[in-house]
């Protein structure tokens, strides 16, 4: 399918950008950025009405990266969408730069919210969705959550708020890569049964392979049909996806960048060695 090949190519390029900017920065959170690549690729290149041209329009669709530490994936896709030049990748996390260690809406074009303090982007997204309804806009809101982020009490305050206010213009996605900062989610604070929890909170729940564009497309399509309650997609993913030695290894949560031989290998695996900034 040509459309899917095109998306796969975009995703491949995003991984290349992530590793490259991670190496320039010398720190960052590669694992959770790599697991979200297909989800972010699909949202920005297929799903959302969001572009350089309509970014100032209050009626635009909104994407909020509640797991703000995965911002390298967001910066990569925003560069693809033409919000800034890929040369900015070199200055990530450096003084006087456009690209901050966590997203900053006032510094980086295309960024909606200063996320990074976990739980807050989710509530912010709920506010966007309610605001859209109150102000008479028909935009949709997409918010990407980390699995570790679900430990935050604010998330569950928001879960109650979202269903109580019947925010059917909002879709939350959990990048369920099973690993958080220190260890497996199951060892830190068990999340399961996760789908049942979301159902009990009154959300429409879907479970997908978060690296499969067919699954992703069908989930966002189904979410558009749901009325009277918000949707949540539990997307099973692999942390560090695409870089062999990072996959499923909690060490690559962050904040760090590959060095020495790891760096050479990572750049080779993602095709970053040929990238000129």
């Amino acid at each position: 399918m040509p459309a899917e090949r095109e998306l796969a190519e975009k995703a491949r390029e995003i991984r290349k950008y992530i590793i490259t900017m991670n190496c320039y920065a010398g720190s960052g959170h590669p694992g959770g950025a790599l697991s979200a690549v297909e989800l972010i690729t699909y949202l920005f290149h297929r799903e959302m009405n969001f572009s350089v041209d309509n970014f100032k329009d209050p009626g635009r669709d909104r994407f909020i990266l509640s797991k703000g530490h995965a911002c390298m994936a967001l910066y990569a896709v925003l560069a693809q969408k033409g919000f800034f030049d890929i040369k900015e990748f070199k200055r990530l996390r450096h003084i006087d730069a456009m690209l901050q260690g966590h997203p900053d809406r006032l510094k980086t074009p295309g960024v909606e919210f200063n996320s990074g303090s976990l739980g807050q982007g989710f509530s912010f997204a709920l506010g966007c969705a309610l605001g859209g309804r109150l102000a008479g806009y028909d935009f949709r809101v997409y918010v990407l959550l980390g699995d570790g982020e679900l430990n935050e009490g604010q998330i569950w305050e928001g879960m109650m708020f979202g269903s109580h206010h019947r925010l059917d213009n909002l879709v939350a996605v959990v990048d369920y890569n099973k690993l958080q900062s220190d260890d497996l989610c199951e060892n830190v604070t068990s999340l399961e049964p996760l789908v049942d929890k979301f159902k009990a909170f009154g959300w429409y729940v879907m479970e997908i392979d978060g690296h499969d564009f067919g699954d992703i497309a069908s989930a966002f399509g189904r979410a558009r049909m749901i009325k009277g309650r918000p949707s949540i997609v539990v997307a099973h993913t692999v942390k560090g996806k695409g870089i062999s030695f990072m996959e499923g290894n909690p060490r690559w949560h962050g904040s760090l960048a590959p060095r020495g031989e790891d760096r050479v290998r990572a750049l080779r695996e993602c095709g970053g060695e040929e990238l000129e900034l």
Binding site: P58, R62, D104, R105, L106, E112, F113, N114, G116, S117, G119, Q120, G121, F122, S123, F124, A125, L126, G127, C128, A129, L130, G131, G132, L134, A135, Y137, G153, Q154, E157, G158, M160, F161, H164
Partner: protein
């Protein structure tokens, strides 16, 4: 005597008839914060968030992106502590146009006791970049301040109050964000007060006048950005300053005034406030006497700074 929270509710209802650009968020305390009258009059503009202040503050930031001005209301303890990190990272840092309005300030809260008596909110909000802080002294000033707060782009923290307060002004009162107001002129010392302490300051000044001591009284209804001009002018003209606030003496109005005084015009200063301790349940007036916030405490403080002023000729303040 009316309460500031009731005055806030009334001001909201009145303003909502003229303008449609704001909504009110509540955390199941509409009776306590005074917003119940607004809820009943404008249910479609009232957003119930439940007892979940952290979510409420971040939701407000999101609402503002649709061109609506969210007025977040709850008790100051929760606005300034339970959900302060949300106020910092969801509102202040991204600089969203959200107004946080808190009731239940200091020992003015009374019988509910220390869990609900916020004695830290000024210190906390003052330390967050991008927030402006407004704290009117009576219902008339509050009514004038509210539309100004709404028209001030960016994050604002406004303080109301819980218990009945005497009226100081009338409908002709002027409110300019960033300006303190001189309520009485005097030459021996200046009393700079905020909120419920303003009427006590006036009372103290009146009694001192009968004893031959003339005090300027300043209502500092904007705490940030603080009116440097009026502080420097007061220091230069009267040579002694007493601050008065229903708040911990650490980090509040006294500290804000002292920051200006020490850098520009060092004079004898004394701070009337809660002396770094938790209070207790009781009627606000009785608590004010026990915890040193009564007009007598202000009077006492003025006499101390006057002694210091004499000893140090207005330059060096020794221990009083």
């Amino acid at each position: 005597m009316r309460t500031m929270r009731d005055a806030f509710g009334e001001a909201l209802v009145e303003l909502a008839q003229e303008r449609t650009d704001f909504v009110v968020l509540d955390a199941d305390v509409a009776g306590g914060t005074g917003t119940a009258s607004f809820r009943d009059a404008f249910p479609e503009r009232f957003i119930q968030c439940g007892i979940a202040e952290q979510n409420m503050i971040s939701v407000a930031a999101g609402l503002s992106t649709a061109g609506i001005i969210p007025i977040v209301t709850c008790y100051a303890v929760f606005a300034s502590m339970r959900a302060v990190e949300q106020a910092r990272n969801s509102i202040a840092y991204p600089r969203f146009n959200v107004k946080v309005v808190a009731s239940h300030l200091g020992i003015d809260v009374g019988p509910d006791g220390p869990t609900h008596q916020a004695i830290e909110d000024i210190a906390i909000y003052r330390a967050i970049p991008n927030f402006k802080i407004v704290s009117p002294a009576d219902p008339y000033e509050l009514k004038k301040a509210l539309p100004v707060v709404l028209d001030t782009e960016g994050p604002v923290y406004m303080r109301t109050g819980r218990s009945p307060v005497p009226e100081i002004f009338d409908e002709n009162v002027r409110f300019v964000l960033g300006e303190g107001g001189i309520l009485a002129e005097g030459t021996d010392a200046t009393i700079i007060a905020v909120g419920v302490m303003v009427h006590r300051a006036l009372k103290a000044a009146e009694r001192l006048y009968k004893e031959g001591i003339s005090c300027r009284v300043v209502n500092m209804s904007t705490l940030k950005p603080i009116d440097k001009e009026i502080i420097v002018d007061s220091a230069l003209k009267t040579g002694a300053i007493v601050t008065a606030e229903d708040h911990n003496i650490m980090g509040g109005l006294g500290s804000a005034v002292a920051e200006v005084v020490v850098e520009n015009c060092p004079v004898a200063m004394k701070m009337v406030g809660i002396n770094d301790r938790f209070a207790e349940s009781g009627e606000p007036e009785a608590l004010a006497i026990k915890y040193g916030l009564h007009d007598k405490a202000i009077e006492e403080a003025v006499k101390i700074v006057l002694r210091q002023k004499k000893r140090g000729k207005g330059k060096i303040a020794s221990l009083g």
